[in-house]
């Protein structure tokens, strides 16, 4: 399914805690239902991000791995 991306957050090269800090801050600036695309390279994000979404009520609508060790997540603001 294709989603309309409202904002992209580039966290490539960053390690814990920067990706989650930047994500939480970026999500604050979005309106309800808007979608943020996050790309990063820290394997920790693969478990931190879904857990954070579950807790915060935001929806992880898509996650995947691109070439070159890059992870991509689409998160919809609650």
């Amino acid at each position: 399914m294709e989603y309309k991306i409202d904002q992209t957050l580039d966290c490539k090269g960053l390690s814990c805690p920067m990706p989650m800090m930047k994500l939480a801050k970026a999500m604050k600036g979005l309106k309800s239902e808007e979608i943020l695309e996050m790309i990063g390279t820290d394997p920790g994000t693969k478990s931190d991000l879904p857990r954070w979404c579950e807790k915060s009520g935001n929806k992880l609508v898509e996650e995947g791995e691109l070439e070159g060790g890059i992870f991509r997540f689409l998160i919809q603001k609650k």
Binding site: D10, K12, G13, L14, S15, C16, P17, M18, M20, M21, K22, A24, K25, K28, T41, D42, P43, G44, K46, S47, D48, R51, W52, K55, S56, E65, L66, E67, G68, G69, I70
Partner: protein, 404 residues
């Protein structure tokens, strides 16, 4: 038929259980707590800063400065080797799960890594231990100083987190910019990582076997160190996460995980100390006082505080730094470098003039059972863990103290 042949067999499924997904932190922490008890049973508990300091001393020995020619070579140092094989174990875990890659962050992050590592070295020297020796092992060792060190860690972590948030707000470019990833294991072309993991694993067992004739303890430290690195990498075990996340995103998983490891440790360590297990030629009192350092309370308070700032800025405590080094996170290489270089300098030149000017009454070995008996000391540590648990779970629900 062809689809059926693609299904993994029994061993394939076992492999996937370990390496397809990250483990819950509490599972990793319970295994780490158990391995910590085994280390204590055969010699002495888990510690990280002593091993990293040994690396640093050997670096300066090689360069020929600071008069460290008598430093124990790393291949003869139990903790130097434990730390080394922790890095190797994490490397193996990352390779098996195809998560290894050289991840080079923006310049600002490298600077923070180095500064954080240097502060951790200073804090560990001042506090006589790091988040492992003076906290994850220190609390189960029923050391009063460990409780003070823990309070220092909390305060340092909160202050450094405030700094990180300020930096992100005012200077967002500091943690942005060019970054690079090399040798990632994405997709089928990453299968080389699994082959390399097997090779490194076999080499580890061979090295351990070579020690088994003359130095049985070292042989086991190598295996346990490797397992600790692998488990830490798979479960993302990191003590800075346990202290920081409740005040950042409000999550309690990292904290609860560390508590599970502490709980196991408290039971195991208390039994070892109470019954004098593994006493060998050592006096009963010396066995009891293992990992009870003369840092109650001033050195523990300052050491914990400085270490808390350092680990939060670096984004990894001592063990969190080591296993992320094995995973290829170059920011934590900068942190390890700071730790390695500053630790011997702190030990030789920075900390002694300060502590020598302090009255001895400010820093002594505080063994809780001397004051509370074994039941009282045991109960006190359990109560502290329980209070911490209630706080993080309440905060997770209410978000009262979390920044986001």
């Amino acid at each position: 038929m062809s689809e059926k042949s693609k299904e993994p067999g029994v061993l394939g499924n076992l492999f996937k259980t370990f390496f397809a997904k990250h483990w819950p932190v509490w599972v990793g922490a319970i295994v780490l707590g158990t391995l910590n008890i085994l280390l204590f049973a055969i010699k002495s508990p888990w510690g990280a800063s002593g091993g990293i300091n040994n690396w640093g001393e050997n670096v300066f020995k090689l360069v020929g400065i600071f008069g460290l020619e008598n430093a124990t070579p790393t291949n003869a140092s139990l903790y130097g080797m434990l730390c080394l094989f922790l890095v190797i174990g994490s490397f193996i875990g990352a390779l098996f799960s195809k998560e290894f890659a050289f991840r080079i962050p923006p310049k600002g992050e490298l600077i923070k890594g180095f500064i954080g590592g240097s502060l951790m070295a200073l804090g560990a020297t001042f506090g006589i231990g790091c988040t492992i020796g003076a906290f994850f092992s220190g609390m189960p060792a029923l050391s009063g100083g460990a409780i003070i060190f823990t309070i220092g860690l909390f305060i340092g972590t909160i202050i450094a987190l405030k700094y990180l948030m300020w930096e992100m707000e005012k200077f967002p470019k500091f943690s942005s910019g060019k970054s690079y990833v090399f040798l990632s294991g994405t997709g089928k072309s990453g299968s080389w990582q699994i082959y390399l993991a097997w090779i490194v694993l076999i080499i580890t067992f061979i090295i351990s076997y070579q020690y088994s004739g003359n130095n049985k303890i070292m042989a086991w430290f190598i295996i346990i160190g490797m397992l600790m690195g692998l488990i830490s990498q798979r479960s993302r075990f990191c003590i800075v996460k346990a202290f920081r996340d409740p005040f950042m995103t409000g999550e309690a998983d990292g904290s609860v995980g560390v508590m599970a490891g502490l709980l196991i440790g408290v039971f195991g360590f208390t039994i070892i100390k109470y019954f004098g297990i593994g006493i060998g030629d050592v006096a009963a009192r010396a066995r009891e006082m293992t990992w009870v350092f003369p840092h109650f309370f001033f050195r523990a308070a300052i050491g914990g505080f400085v270490f808390g700032i350092g680990m939060t800025i670096a984004g990894g405590c001592a063990v969190g730094t080591l296993w992320r080094v094995g995973e290829g996170q170059v920011k934590l290489w900068a942190s390890a470098l700071g730790f390695i270089l500053i630790s011997p300098i702190s030990k030789l030149y920075i900390v002694p003039p300060i502590v020598n000017s302090l009255p001895q009454s400010l820093d002594f070995k505080n063994y809780l059972p001397d004051y509370l008996g074994y039941p009282g000391a045991f109960a006190l540590v359990l109560i502290i863990i329980l209070i911490w648990y209630v706080f993080v779970k309440w905060n997770e629900k209410t978000g009262r103290f979390s920044a986001f």
